[in-house]
Amino acid sequence: MTRKLYIVSTTIFWLVVFGLGMTSALWNPAEQGNVQAQGKTITLVELAKHAAPGNCWMAIRGSVYDLSAYLPAHPSLPDIVLPWCGKEATEAYNTKTKGRPHAPYADELLTKYRIGTLAKAP
């Protein structure tokens, strides 16, 4: 009985994971309500207005990103990421766990959420 349960659950798990990977690979970004890069310049004051979990912008390396949709999927606890909403977060982004920067994969992921450029300080 337990053996059967193990085999069935493991098989279903891999089918779902494989299915998810395939769906993601075949997904057409044009249908996503694209939030690709725009040329808008955003000031620190405007950035600070978006500091809530459901409305979270962050400035990283000179660009501004709307991470509201991504936050629920971020691996770390909300306590670690949420305080950076509405702020310039380059340092935090570059020094995550034990001072290591995020992986190139994260940089690539970030570009999908870019909404503008951070205005230079006067």
């Binding site: 337990t2 493991t10 798990f13 998810l20 629920p72 999927a73 606890l77 670690i80 766990t97």
Partner: protein
């Protein structure tokens, strides 16, 4: 079993699962993300509980209702933890799916170059492989035990995964607790620190592929009762080299000087080697464990033994005569496998309350409909069954069909894989 002992395992289970879930219960997270986090912590709590059930300490085992019961819980909670941890990443992916399938995949993708995700996958795959090996009963015990160790590695990887996610307090506590429990098991049980030193004084053949080994204590003897079992490992002798693995053996007799006698049947590589045991071989004995014939109620008894399953009954009868009318049905394959039959016959002749029915049944399953007493003859009986799992299952089924309440059917598997 007392009420407290019966409730001990469910209470501990609630604590081990409830406390981490309560501590880590997320606030203001989307529904599926909340489900994913709860599944992760419930699985982690179950894994820690599972590690506790792996610690074979005499007092703990007795307090929790015996090693047989603990092992059954170990198997069930281990699988339950695995199922919850399979669902954990899928629930997190579902949270991402609300945004887009691409994001759902990004959450769990092992190609994400992200240590927390890699460790999560590493832990899950170790659990997967370790569990797969657990179900391979045909593997040699030594190989099986090493592969089973993958489960411990999976647990550690899982808790480092929690640490990497930035959950430092919970992750660190769980990791330290897991390391301590694994070390406890490794040092006290597998390396035998909890066991006492004994030496083999005699070995005699009692049936084909079965010997009875006498052991003399070299230090403080263990406080055992016949019918209980001990975990015993054999090491070096004058011309014998044991495999050093701890295996369970039922105590068939206890002498005045606390010498133990145990029945050893060749069931695998290591026990096959034990058939060549000789006086002077050093041994370590851990225990005693087992509740099988510990508290016999004052009512008629039916004892059913299959093969080496006769040992606990023989151990009991060697120490005391039965006080209630008792029928002992002893099933074995052929005459050459009928261990202790002469002695049992003599014991039954000397004890008017004991009737012995011994039957050679060949290699197939015996005709239990015919062998077991009819329903009216079983009224008010307490039934004890010991033997191979298939026989226990078949006997229990017939007894239930004949109206014996489930709480009056007792059995011991002696299978701790």
């Amino acid at each position: 079993m007392t009420r407290l002992r019966t409730l001990s395992l469910p209470i501990l289970l609630l604590l081990f699962v409830g406390l981490p879930v309560f501590w880590a219960f997320p606030e203001a997270l989307p529904f599926w993300r909340t489900v994913g986090v709860i599944l992760g912590w419930a699985g982690a709590g179950l894994l820690l509980f599972n590690l506790l059930l792996m610690v074979r300490e005499v007092r703990i085992a007795s307090g929790l209702g015996g090693l047989e019961r603990i092992t059954a819980w170990h198997h069930q909670t281990g699988l339950a933890a695995y199922l919850l941890l399979l669902l954990h990443p899928l629930a997190l992916a579902t949270a991402g799916w609300v945004e887009s399938p691409e994001l759902a995949w990004q959450v769990i993708s092992p190609f994400s170059e992200n240590w927390p995700v890699w460790l999560g996958w590493g832990g899950l795959i170790c659990l997967m492989l370790g569990l797969a090996a657990t179900f391979m009963h045909h593997l040699a015990y030594g190989t099986w035990r090493w592969l089973h160790g993958l489960l411990g590695l999976g647990v550690l990887a899982g808790f480092v995964h929690v640490l990497q996610l930035g959950i430092s307090a919970g992750g660190l506590f769980a990791l330290v607790a897991a390391v301590l429990l694994l070390l406890w098991r490794l040092l006290r049980v597998d390396l035998g620190i909890a066991a006492m030193p004994y030496i083999v004084t005699s070995v005699r053949s009692v049936a084909q592929s079965m010997v009875e080994v006498s052991l003399k204590p070299l230090a403080i003897p263990i406080n055992a009762a016949p019918g209980q079992f001990v975990l015993t490992a054999f090491f070096k002798g004058p011309s014998y080299q044991g495999c050093g693995e701890f295996h369970p053996f039922t105590i068939s007799d206890i002498g005045l000087e606390h010498e133990l006698r145990i029945g050893v049947k060749a069931l695998g590589d290591c026990t096959r080697r034990m058939q060549r045991l000789e006086p002077g071989v050093s041994a370590r004995v851990h225990g005693p464990f087992g509740e099988f014939l510990k508290a016999l109620p004052s009512r008629p008894q039916l004892w059913v033994a299959g093969g080496i399953g006769i040992t606990p009954f023989l151990g009991f009868l060697r120490q005391q005569a039965v006080k209630n009318p008792t029928t002992l049905i002893y099933i074995y394959r052929g005459e050459q496998d009928a261990a202790y039959l002469d002695e049992l016959t003599a014991l039954s002749k000397a004890c008017p309350e004991l009737s012995l029915l011994a039957e050679a049944t060949g290699t197939g399953l015996p005709n239990l409909q015919q062998l077991l007493p009819a329903a009216n003859a079983l009224a008010n009986h307490e039934c004890y069954v010991c033997g191979p799992p298939g026989l226990i299952e078949a006997v229990s089924r017939v007894l239930l069909d004949r109206g014996v309440p489930v709480e009056r059917i007792h059995f011991e598997h002696f299978d701790f894989r």
